[in-house]
C-alpha cells in the first residue's frame, strides 16, 4: 500500500460496498446531513468544541492498559487493553453520539432519534440529548427491551422515550427500520443518530471519524509505552464501530494486523449466529451494500448472539471492503467462548467486560499464545459489563 488510504469516494463507496441505498423521500435529508458533516469536520470551532467535550465530558483519553497478569498467564504476546469501558456511560458509543449531537445542534435540529440493540447506544444518545436539551426517542426491539431492562430504565431516567418495536424479529434490525420510518416522517426537525458504521453515506464514514479518536490515542499511547507500533489489533464486530475506530488510524501501517471478531452464537455450523463477514454474502440493507445474513430469496435471516450489541445481520461496509481487500481479517467466537473471555478478564485483571467485548477477549486468548513475548496486541475493551449482570446471573441460575 503505497498510496494513502482515502476511502470512501464522494458517494460513500468502499469499492463495491457502501453507497446510498434509500427511498427518495430520505434523499434530501441525507444530502443535508452530508454537507453539514463535510463542513463542520473542517470547522475549527466545531472541532475545538468536540475536543473539549471528549476530554471533559466523555473523560478522554481513555487509558491503554498493559494487562501484565493476563499476558503472563497466556504466555505469548504483550496484551494492552484500550479502556473504552471507562468512558462516560460505559462504552465507546459516547464518542459518536457526542459528535453527532453537536452536529445536530449546529444544523438546528431539535429532536434526536436513535436505534439501539443492547441499549448502550441508546443510553449514550439519551445522555447527550439530555445535556443539550433535545427531545429524544429511542427505538429498541421488543425482545431487546425485555433482555436489557436496566438500560431501558437508564434511558427513561435521562428523559428519553423508549419505543418497543414489535415488527419483524423485534431486535436491532427492526429498531433500525422503525427509526428510518420516523426520520422520513419527521425530516424537518429530526436528526437520526445511527450508532454504528453502517447506514447510508455519510454515516459509515462519519461514525468512523468520530470513533477514530480511540485508535489515534491507542497508537500514540502504544508508541509512548512500548516504543513501537502493535503487531495486531483485535476488536469485536457487530456493526463494527469500535473496530473501525481502532483500525482506521492504522490502515496505512501495513505491518499492523487487524482482526475483527464476529459473534458465532451457537456456532457458525448451526446457522444461529451473527457473523455476516464470516458466513454471509454481499447484499443491500439499511442504506448500504455490505455483507449480510440473507437467504437465497434475499430475505434477511434472524440472527443470534448472547450479546444484544452484536445481534445484527449486517456489518459496516468498510469492514466488507477491508475483508475483500485482505487488509483486515475476520474471525468468529461462539457464545460459550465469549463467556470464557468474560470470566478470564474478570478474574485475571479485575475488569468486567461487556459481553460484546468479551468476544474480542476470547479471541485474544487464542491469538496471544501463538505470538512471541516481544510482540504486542491491542484489544479494544469497548464496553463494561455492568449492563450484562442480569444476563450472566440468570445463566448461573441467580435472580438479582
Amino acid at each position: 500500500m503505497t498510496e494513502k488510504y482515502n476511502m470512501p469516494d464522494a458517494r460513500g463507496h468502499f469499492g463495491i460496498y457502501g453507497g446510498i441505498f434509500v427511498a427518495e423521500t430520505l434523499m434530501p435529508a441525507i444530502t443535508e446531513l452530508n454537507s453539514a458533516y463535510q463542513h463542520y469536520m473542517n470547522d475549527a470551532e466545531f472541532v475545538a468544541e468536540l475536543d473539549k467535550d471528549m476530554q471533559h465530558y466523555v473523560g478522554r483519553p481513555s487509558p491503554l492498559y498493559h494487562a501484565e497478569r493476563w499476558t503472563k498467564e497466556l504466555g505469548g504476546a504483550q496484551i494492552y487493553l484500550k479502556r473504552e469501558d471507562l468512558n462516560h456511560t460505559g462504552s465507546h458509543k459516547i464518542n459518536n453520539t457526542v459528535g453527532q449531537a453537536l452536529l445536530a445542534k449546529r444544523m438546528g435540529k431539535t429532536r434526536i432519534i436513535a436505534e439501539t440493540g443492547a441499549g448502550q447506544h441508546g443510553v449514550a444518545t439519551a445522555t447527550v440529548a439530555a445535556r443539550l436539551g433535545l427531545e429524544c426517542v429511542i427505538y429498541m426491539g421488543a425482545v431487546d427491551v425485555a433482555r436489557q431492562s436496566l438500560n431501558v430504565y437508564r434511558m427513561k431516567l435521562l428523559g428519553a422515550t423508549v419505543v418497543a418495536v414489535e415488527s419483524g424479529s423485534k431486535t436491532l434490525k427492526d429498531a433500525l427500520n422503525e427509526a428510518l420510518r420516523d426520520w422520513v416522517t419527521n425530516i424537518d426537525d429530526t436528526f437520526y443518530i445511527i450508532g454504528t458504521v453502517a447506514g447510508p453515506h455519510p454515516y459509515p464514514a462519519m461514525v468512523r471519524d468520530f470513533q477514530a479518536i480511540l485508535g489515534r490515542e491507542a497508537k500514540a499511547q502504544c508508541l509512548a509505552q512500548a516504543g513501537k507500533l502493535p503487531n495486531a489489533l483485535v476488536a469485536c464486530v457487530g456493526g463494527g464501530s469500535n473496530a473501525m475506530g481502532l483500525f482506521y488510524p492504522f490502515i496505512d501501517d501495513a505491518d499492523v494486523k487487524m482482526i475483527g471478531v464476529e459473534a458465532a452464537g451457537d456456532g457458525i455450523e448451526t446457522g444461529r449466529h451473527s457473523a455476516p463477514l464470516c458466513a454471509g454474502r454481499p447484499g443491500v440493507l439499511h442504506g448500504n451494500r455490505t455483507y449480510l445474513m440473507s437467504d437465497d430469496d434475499g430475505e434477511i435471516i434472524e440472527t443470534h448472539s448472547i450479546s444484544a450489541g452484536l445481534d445484527y445481520p449486517g456489518v459496516g461496509p468498510e469492514h466488507a471492503w477491508l475483508k475483500d481487500s485482505g487488509r483486515a481479517q475476520y474471525v468468529n467466537i461462539t457464545d460459550d467462548e465469549a463467556l470464557g473471555g468474560f470470566y478470564a478478564l474478570t478474574r485475571m485483571e479485575g475488569i468486567i467486560p461487556a459481553l460484546e467485548s468479551s468476544h474480542a477477549m476470547a479471541y485474544v486468548m487464542k491469538l496471544a499464545p501463538t505470538m512471541k513475548s516481544d510482540e504486542i496486541i491491542i484489544v479494544n475493551l469497548s464496553g463494561r459489563g455492568d449492563k450484562d449482570m442480569q444476563t450472566m446471573a440468570r445463566r448461573e441460575g441467580i435472580e438479582l
Binding site: 446510498i20 441505498f21 434530501p28 415488527s167 434490525k173 422520513v184 416522517t185 451494500r289 449480510l292 430475505e299
Partner: protein, 267 residues
Amino acid sequence: MSRLAGLFAELAQKNRKALIPFVTAGDPNPDFTVPLMHAMVGAGADIIELGVPFSDPMADGPVIQRASERALAHHQSLRTTLAIATEFRKTNGHTPVVIMGYLNPVEIMGYEKFADAVQAAGVDGVLTVDLPPEEAAECAELLKARDVDPIFLLAPNSTPERVKIMDAIGSGYIYYVSLKGVTGAGHLNSAEVETKLTEIRANTKLPLAVGFGVKDAETAKIIGNLGDGVVVGSALIKEIEANLQNPAQAKQAIIGLLTSMRHAMDN
C-alpha cells in the same frame, strides 16, 4: 418500451386517468393474488402494482409491513411473485404489471438474472424502493434492454435537479409520493400536490402516478384531476386485514372500493 407507454398514450387520448391498485403478492395467501388481479382489472384497474414481500420494508407503514409479514409466512418471495405475474399473463395480455419491492432480493438473484426473469414473467415495470438513480444505472440498463421500464420515486422534497435525473434514467411513469413519510400515513393536501406536480412537469414528460394518501373515491377523484395516475395501496390492504378469516369478502370489498374510485375518476 413496455405496455406502459401505450397505455398512458391511450388514456391521454380518452382524457382518462390510470387507476393503479397496489397489493402485496401472496397476502393473505398465495392463491388469493392472481384471481384478485383479474377482478381488479374487471373493476377498472389500468395497471397493477404487485408488492414483493421483504423482511425489512423500511419505507412502508404498518399496514403494508403486516401484509409483507403475512405473505412471508407463506414463503412468498421475489421468485414466487414473478410466478404470480406469469400466471396472470396467461389470460391477460394487455394490463401492465409493475413489481415494487426492495433491492436485496434483486441483489441476491443477480441483476441480469433478475432482468431476464422479469421479462419472462411479462412484467412491464420495476420499482425498487431503496435503489435511487445514483446507484441504478446498471440495473436500469439491463431492464430497458428487455423492454421493462425502471420506475423511480419523487417526493415533495425532491429538487428540480432530481426530477431531471429521474427523467433521464426512468421510463414508464414516475411515482410521485404525495405525502412525506412512509406509506399509508397522513392527510392529503391537494393544493400542495398540484403545485409540486406543475413544478415536476417542467422537467419531465413522463406520466406522473400519485400515491400515498389515496383512500376513497373522493381522494381518488382529487388526485385523478392532478396526476396521470392514481395509486391506491394501504386502503386496499386494510380490507384484506379486516377480513383475514374470509378472503372472499376482502376481495369483494376491494372490488367495491376500486369500482367507486373508477366511477368518481371518470365522472
